[in-house]
């Protein structure tokens, strides 16, 4: 590996020289660099060298935050970060080509949990145990999050930076007008749904064009009916999908479907499209992550609040979906020291606090004070801190292929609830195939 490293550095060096000379002749450095296969930042880099950071933060606000953080870092460090942003969905598909190439990026954005473990098990990620020890992160980060930052071999591979909560969102003005109350258990929730229907509203808005919104309902039903630990074992492929416990998780779902509680034809809507009836006051509830606030029209944001997904089975530990985002480093990174330095920067309390102050999701580092959050966010963080277990969300907790079949199955159930048994049997066949080849 050191041989290939020196080869890369050598060719980088000559390529950099060429680019510098070309720039001296007035030929645009980026142009030349693009041809030579190095970045313009690299062509004119400082002594510490560049750190390539590949990011999926393509939304305007997160992107601005990422760019701001990069600027902050570059000002005060010997290394220079060069940021490359890819559209979010495309990044998820392209990341494998990035990591598997001979010259992968040094640092990449990604998710914690099994989606990260796929890469760590393939030996593509840099172990971060030393980094954790040096920065005291084992004490600073919540236990649940530490668990999902480890690879299967027990080493740390992931540097988490932010997470956000999921909940059922509602319009306080509507509740006041109709005299509705926050439900604490399932019976009350069904009562709420009925009351909304009677008032002529669509009880629950949802868009399942991208099926992960349906997976959210599955996560919560499974965690509330059975238990969060059971849910995680299911995601790890240890429990059959056609077991009686899993079937039981679909019963409350069935109750909602029978009451026609959901927006009709949800497959025709993206989740953003489904915000429209919710914002217009035609729909009463929306199970979604905290980022719904960003899509919600600004002038109505004061009339938006949430409550925890209600208890179904009494006495079951409380699990919440709280997808955790962060960074990892490629094991073949051409600048490992720089990568470590950047990760330390991103994992520090100061940087994470800065992100939050710019409007970002809650920080993972527990030294970040709670009072800097706006009310909604703080309420969400407190809810998470009171929970017993944090899950990453179905498509991050389970194997990607299992996830895509699982989510398709949820939609099929949605359309044909009577076929549940067959659907779960077929889903379990997939589970056996996927997890058998995994071990």
């Amino acid at each position: 590996m050191s041989r290939s490293l020196s080869r890369i550095m050598q060719s980088n060096h000559t390529r950099r020289e060429l680019a510098r000379r070309g720039a001296a002749f007035g030929v645009s450095a980026p142009l030349l660099a693009g041809f030579a296969g190095i970045s313009p930042a690299e062509a004119l880099a400082q002594d510490g060298g560049t750190v390539q950071l590949a990011s999926y933060n393509s939304d305007p606000a997160p992107r601005a935050r990422m760019e701001g953080a990069v600027e902050l870092y570059n000002e005060s460090s010997d290394y220079t970060i060069e940021l490359n942003t890819t559209e979010h969905e495309a990044f998820k598909l392209a990341i494998r080509t990035y990591l598997a190439s001979d010259d992968p990026p040094d640092v990449l954005t990604w998710f914690a949990g099994n989606r990260m473990r796929f890469f760590s098990s393939a030996g593509l990620l840099m172990p971060l145990d030393d980094l954790y020890a040096a920065n005291g992160w084992e004490e600073a980060y919540p236990k649940g999050i530490l668990a999902v930052s480890k690879g299967r071999d027990g080493s740390y591979y992931f540097a988490p930076t932010s997470y956000y909560h999921w909940a059922i969102w509602y319009r306080p003005s509507m509740f006041e007008e109709l005299g509705l109350e926050i439900p604490q258990n399932w019976e009350q929730f069904l009562g709420l749904v009925d009351a909304l229907s009677e008032a002529g509203k669509i009880p629950i808005a949802i868009g399942t064009l991208a099926p992960w919104t349906a997976a959210a309902w599955f996560d919560y039903f499974n965690m509330r009916v059975n238990s969060p630990e059971f849910h995680i074992s299911l995601c790890d492929g240890e429990v059959p999908y056609n077991s009686p416990e899993v079937k039981a998780a679909f019963e409350p779902w069935r109750e909602l479907l029978d009451r026609k509680a959901f927006l009709p034809q949800p497959e025709a809507y993206s989740w953003q499209d489904a915000v429209t009836p919710f914002a217009q006051g035609d729909a009463g509830l929306y199970l979604m992550g905290r980022f719904i606030v960003d899509q919600f029209p600004d002038e109505l944001e004061d009339d938006l609040d949430f409550f925890r997904f209600p208890t179904i089975t009494e006495g079951v530990p409380v699990g919440e979906d709280a997808p955790t985002d962060g960074f990892f480093a490629a094991v073949e990174a051409s600048n490992p020291e720089g990568a470590n330095d950047v990760l330390a920067f991103l994992g520090s309390a100061e940087t994470q606090q800065w992100f939050v102050e710019q409007g970002g999701s809650p920080a993972v580092h527990q030294d970040v004070p709670l009072d800097i959050y706006d009310d909604i966010t703080r309420k969400g963080v407190e809810m998470l801190q009171q929970s017993d277990l944090i899950a990453q969300f179905y498509d991050r907790d389970t194997h990607p292929e299992m996830a895509s079949h699982g989510m398709a199955a949820f939609i099929e159930f949605w359309n044909n609830p009577d076929e549940l048994d067959r659907i779960l049997d077929e889903l379990d066949e997939v589970r056996q195939r996927v997890y058998e080849s995994e071990s």
Binding site: G34, P40, A54, S58, E82, N84, T86, E87, D102
Partner: protein, 291 residues
């Protein structure tokens, strides 16, 4: 001739002459509404591009707009990085075009003019290859670019597009060159010209209509490619306009308005090219039809 002019003076012809204004009226009466309905999605594109995102979210896409934001276009240009991405698209497309057209015309000349072993096989390989679904090439080409150290450079896209389009262009040019009359070659050979001279001085100039037509089509295809750019290029500053536009679409927020505005800007080069070269385009296209 007498019989035909007599024919022309019959009532039949006169009926046709009076018919024309009515036919013309029906022509427009039918086409104009049809076109307007046909273009509804295009109107929607423009409409969405000038609204604010809150307006679209709150009122739905088909509602009467409550906002008018021309700055979406400038936002797409600067914040969306369109200036950079457009330049990249040109940097990639033009050299790829040059490679493809020059090599294809060489190959087409050889296949059209000479009879030799393997002529038909090579020709059909070019034709067949151009019809392959790209999925079958995705991963191997990515691996190849990696191995050759071309991954994440302009060259990866330039060389790949240049190489892949050789198939289609050879197909068209070869058929076109076969329609060139043989006397030209005989005369040139009597003058002692080498084959390459004949190619350069006679064949290429005569093939210009077809080459121009191909240039237009290929420009559109390469310029608007999305998937190869996604697979072969990683860094932002190399991305062409297609992937660049896609990064305006995020995980959480879909800025439809800015994305559509950006798309409209990105369409301009293609449209201009079509407008200016449409004469060649129509002419050159039928040349490849194997007539």
């Amino acid at each position: 001739m007498a019989t035909t002019t007599a024919h022309l003076d019959t009532g039949e012809y006169r009926k046709k002459r009076n018919w024309r204004p009515i036919r013309i009226a029906f022509y427009y009466l039918f086409l104009v509404p049809l076109l307007l309905i046909w273009l509804i999605p295009i109107f929607m594109t423009f409409l969405t591009a000038v609204r604010s995102l809150d307006d679209i979210t709150l009122n739905g896409p088909f509602s009467w707009p409550t906002s008018f934001e021309l700055q979406n276009f400038s936002q797409a240009w600067t914040q969306g990085g369109l200036n950079r991405y457009m330049l990249n698209s040109f940097i990639i497309t033009i050299p790829a075009l040059v490679i493809c057209l020059s090599l294809s015309s060489l190959a087409a000349f050889s296949l059209a003019r000479f009879r030799f072993k393997g002529n038909l096989i090579i020709y059909f390989t070019f034709v067949g290859g151009s019809l392959l679904p790209f999925q079958i090439l995705m991963l191997p080409v990515y691996r190849l670019a990696n191995t050759l150290n071309l991954y994440d450079t302009y060259w990866a896209l330039i060389i790949f597009h240049g190489a892949f389009q050789i198939g289609f262009c050879t197909f068209v040019l070869r058929n076109f060159m076969r329609t060139i009359p043989g006397e030209i070659f005989d005369a040139a050979r009597i003058d002692g010209a080498s084959e390459f001279r004949i190619y350069r001085q006679h064949v290429v100039p005569l093939s210009l209509p077809a080459i121009a037509a191909l240039a237009t089509l290929e420009f559109t295809w390469i310029f608007n490619d999305y998937l190869w750019a996604l697979i072969l290029v990683q860094r932002d500053e190399l991305k062409p306009v297609t992937t660049g536009l896609a990064s305006l679409q995020g995980e959480f927020i879909r800025a439809y308005n800015i994305q559509f505005a950006g798309t409209l800007i990105a369409v301009v080069p293609t449209v201009l090219l079509f407008v200016f070269l449409q004469r060649y385009f129509i002419q050159g296209l039928t040349m490849g039809s194997g007539k």
